[in-house]
């Protein structure tokens, strides 16, 4: 039984390293140690947010989605990935599993590159929080209550 988790872990680390072939063209690579630490962050996040994962693949998906972001360079690559992984699992719970992995990652990427302009804090505290609330109340993920009001305010300025 002891060999069971480490075997899965090794497989996950290998899969992450394979992503380097794809990300290298964006100037981003991960060392084996980085990959091991990312898997550890995933395990810790799963434990912290009371979730279990059988297949792997979420880290790979995050890497492949975010590698072309203009706000990610080799300097902040690993750190950003750690934060994105933790945020991902937190919002899987917050959205009551109403959104699929792919949709959530896509939403995170669009917000990160768009409204948040590369700020993880804005992504987590504002955009994803709003999206999770929308889903819980039965609205579309990008629904905004004050979009109409903002337009009116802008009109008032002129």
């Amino acid at each position: 039984m002891n060999a069971f988790p480490s075997l899965i872990q090794k497989q996950a680390v290998d899969e992450i390293q394979e992503c380097n072939d794809f990300t290298v063209k964006f100037g981003l690579t991960l060392s084996r140690q980085d990959a091991i630490e990312l898997v550890e962050t995933r395990n810790l996040s799963l434990k912290k947010y009371g979730r279990v994962e059988f297949g792997g693949g979420v880290i790979n998906k995050i890497i492949k989605e975010f590698c072309d972001s203009p706000y990610i360079s080799m300097n902040n690559y690993v750190g950003t990935l750690h934060e994105l992984i933790e945020i991902f699992y937190f919002y899987k719970n917050e959205t009551l599993d109403l959104i699929s992995d792919d949709e959530l990652i896509k939403f995170m990427k669009n917000s990160f590159d768009g409204k948040c302009q590369g700020s993880i804090e804005l992504l987590s505290e504002r955009e994803l929080a709003k999206m999770a609330r929308n889903l819980r109340y039965g609205y579309a993920p990008d629904y905004s209550e004050d979009s109409g009001c903002e337009e009116e305010d802008e009109d008032d300025q002129y």
Binding site: G50, R51, V52, E53, F54, G56, K92, D97, S100, D101
Partner: protein
């Protein structure tokens, strides 16, 4: 020595009916039928089956699930495999299967078994609906309704929550279903209920109604088992040589039974009750083996109730005297014609302006001619507590009883929306009643029970 049973390595009495798979594994491991490596192999197979089921649960859209969901799916897998293993001839054979068959194969067999049990349970539910008793008892009716057990057949999740019982079941059976879960529980519950109904429909609806009314006037709202009351009364009738079909035992019969049963020891009492049950079988030509078994299973419980009642001299709480509510004495109460609105308004204004209690009482005495007006004044005239008490002192027992009936101070879900003024009236009325001598209080409550309000002539 009528039965010679083969002895098995695993003691089936130690196995749990609810979590059969887990207890079987535990027992098998303890008795050495499986070793550590077998156990690990089973665990690994269960985890991969859980991974497969979790993926299906997420429809491939999410790679992770909440721990609680995973636990629930795992519990469902264990329950399903347990159901299959339970269906095998004995527990030793179940272990052999467990070692030789794949977990996923056993799960599939269990799933098929649940599907067929589900169809069976649905059929029994329809049978129960067709032989249901006509009764006012709310828990019985609501349990049998579409919103009671009916929910189960719409919400039961065989794939992921097979161990769950998504139904609203309030009605208590005479022989409750223990140590079962999921479809097994529902099936057993419905089987027992069906047998209870089969027995009860031998009696007239009115006889059952009168019996339960004699048990408690509020029986429609009670969690009372109808079968148990009917069977006890039928046994009582048989023991007292009364007509079993009528379910009527008089107070004299109860006294006779008390004197008769007092002489018996526990064994003789049970023997006599069994004899009485035999006479019931004969009377109604009961030949159904399952029904006979079910009734016999209920007898020790009834015998214990009788035994305790004899000891405490409360046999009249076990053998109930039927009561026809239509034949109960009634006191008709007519409020009288209400005064004109304008005149009432003037009176209220005058009462509010008036400073002295004696003047207020005099005014009320002089002007108020109907009970409805008096009640309105108590609510509207903003009287003080001592004024209330003085006013109540001028009323007779019937008027007080009528006031209690209209403003019951015992909490009732029907009067949650009472106004503050009405609540004040209830409080003063309660404190007034409490300071009355016990005999008068009882008399008032008795009148309140028998009171029948008749609409005032307009």
């Amino acid at each position: 020595m009528t039965n010679i049973e083969k002895r098995y390595i695993i003691d089936s009495n130690k196995l749990s009916g609810e979590s059969y798979f887990n207890s079987l594994l535990q027992e098998a491991y303890t008795s050495g039928l499986i070793n550590q490596s077998d156990l690990e192999n089973i665990q690994l197979q269960c985890i991969s089956l859980l991974a497969y089921k979790s993926e299906r649960y997420n429809m491939g859209e999410s790679s992770s699930i909440r721990v609680e969901t995973a636990e629930s799916i795992m519990k469902s897998i264990f329950y399903t495999i347990g159901l299959y293993l339970k269906s095998l001839s004995n527990s030793d054979y179940a272990i052999t299967k467990l070692k030789s068959e794949k977990i996923s194969e056993m799960y599939e067999r269990g799933r098929k078994l649940i599907y067929s049990r589900f169809r069976e349970a649905k059929h029994i539910y329809e049978m129960v609906l067709s032989n249901r008793i006509e009764t006012l008892n709310h828990s019985y009716n609501s349990t049998l309704s579409e919103n009671g057990i009916g929910i189960f057949f719409k919400s039961y999740n065989i794939e992921y929550e097979a161990y769950d019982i998504p139904a609203s079941i309030d009605y208590q059976l005479c022989n409750p279903v223990n140590d079962l879960a999921g479809i097994e529980y529902i099936q057993k519950y419905l089987e027992n209920l069906y047998l209870e109904n089969v027995f009860c429909i031998n009696f007239a609806t009115d006889s059952i109604h009168y019996l339960l009314y004699g048990y408690d006037k509020g029986y429609p709202d009670l969690l009372v088992n109808i079968f148990e009351q009917v069977l006890t009364a039928a046994l009582g009738c048989s023991l007292a040589n009364r007509n079993i079909r009528e379910l009527y035992i008089s107070q004299e019969d109860i006294q006779y039974l008390y004197e008769k049963l007092l002489k018996y020891d526990k064994y003789t009492l049970l023997l006599n009750i069994h004899k009485a049950a035999e006479s019931i079988f004969e009377e109604f030509y009961i030949t159904n083996y399952l029904l006979k078994k079910y009734i016999e299973k209920s007898l020790p419980k009834i015998a214990t109730n009788i035994e305790i009642a004899i000891r405490l001299n409360t046999l009249n709480r076990v053998f109930i005297t039927s009561k026809n509510p239509d034949l109960e004495p009634r006191i008709q109460f007519k409020s009288g014609v209400k005064m004109d609105d304008e005149e009432y308004r003037r009176l209220i204004e005058e009462l509010i302006r008036c400073r002295y209690t004696s003047d207020k009482l005099e005014l009320i005495k002089k002007k108020v001619k109907s009970f409805d007006d008096l009640e309105d004044i108590l609510i509207d005239a903003q009287l003080e507590e001592d004024e209330f008490i003085s006013l109540f002192n001028t009323l007779g027992d019937v008027e007080i009883a009528a006031m209690i009936k209209r403003h019951p101070f015992e909490w009732d879900f029907k009067n949650v929306n009472t106004s503050e003024a009405e609540h004040v009236l209830q409080l003063y009325l309660e404190s007034y009643i409490k300071q009355l001598p016990g005999s008068r209080r009882e008399c008032i409550f008795q009148i309140a029970e028998q009171l029948l309000e008749v609409d005032a002539e307009i």
